[in-house]
Symmetry: C2
Subunit: 245 residues, 2 copies
Amino acid sequence: MKQNIYDNDIFFQGYQQLRATESGLNAALEEPALYALLPALSGLDILDLGCGTGKFCRLAAATAATVTGADISQKMLQEAIRQTKAANVTYICAPTEELTFAQQRFNLVVSSLALHYIANYQQVVTNVFQWLQPGGQFIFSVEHPMCTAMHHAQWQTDEAGNILHWPVDNYQEETIRHTTWFVENVIKYHRTTATYVNTLIQAGFRIAGLHEPLPVKEYLEQRPSLVRECRRPPFLLLAATKPSI
Amino acid sequence: MKQNIYDNDIFFQGYQQLRATESGLNAALEEPALYALLPALSGLDILDLGCGTGKFCRLAAATAATVTGADISQKMLQEAIRQTKAANVTYICAPTEELTFAQQRFNLVVSSLALHYIANYQQVVTNVFQWLQPGGQFIFSVEHPMCTAMHHAQWQTDEAGNILHWPVDNYQEETIRHTTWFVENVIKYHRTTATYVNTLIQAGFRIAGLHEPLPVKEYLEQRPSLVRECRRPPFLLLAATKPSI
């Protein structure tokens, strides 16, 4: 059975609160970096894998031709539907690995911090390649392999609580990591940067960019604690293109 | 002035001994991984950037059309020339950043653990792109950015000397790192994985593979201490192709 933490009540409440206050790293770092990689969305057919409450779907719907948001969580999608007015957005409730599209093809597939929850990354990459039009792009973010490598990794501090460094271990063990995020035993799948990149290439993609973004300057000024995110990269972003042939 | 540690007598002696005994990580990990990425060398014109004592040049000379080895160190090249009998090998003593080739073009440019000593990686990448024939490949290894990030990084151990983890810090600071390797104050240039990859793409290369190799099994069995090299990747390897147009 696929993991679906987002339909856990405690998780959902914690997550909603995090996103509402923008106190997470998403607004300060991941979203600006992901959005900066996107092509002009005008007229595109877009798929968002792990769309959550539909923030990106609504943003894209203003200019895109169509937006399809897919997520495993009914709770997330209920909230997405409640907030979405645009008629060109469709939501699908399904695990990413089990999505199928018979005829529908996309110009852009986006995924924000979802693929490290997916057991079979290779299958998803193969599927996305098939669903993309020639020349289409697959752009996604994941937790950085440097951060998912060690089991229960935390900043190492001295006795006064000052950060010393970030610990890396078990980097080559591409297996499950158990972690606590609002609730206990959230499962992630650690993969190396090499696996993230080479699986794309083997599926036929061309790598257009690999990014390990820094916090955006305005957020760094507002929240000096973000400085630690310059000490190790929290996220890995990849942009890949299906060749036009 | 370019750094030339290899012409320091103490360094050179230590380095020669390391290579003679194969007790370093090169034979167990870096060389097999780099060689596995190479195309068939038969009939190729090959350039080796930072060729040292010419080990790869001699190996390649058996099948390649021509091999050009370049290194900043006269001592290294004297040893390379002494050991090299093949007539199709040419050695050039020059810093990598200052190499120029008016007419000569290559099918393959290789560089083994040299580019993290080079201040201007972007210039080298631009030059290599120009020196390659269309369809030619640039394949190189560097110390992994995870390993060069923290100043004076060492395995973190408990009181009994057991390894706890590898420390990462200052990842986003793409500046000089001072280190001790046989002699004090060896200078390296830390760059992020993103910079290694995106500089290639921006120069016009296509990424053919990104690798974070494990020790070869036979060496792991002979030297159990190599197990720690599975806990963090010591080297980053990149293979890039100049499109045939």
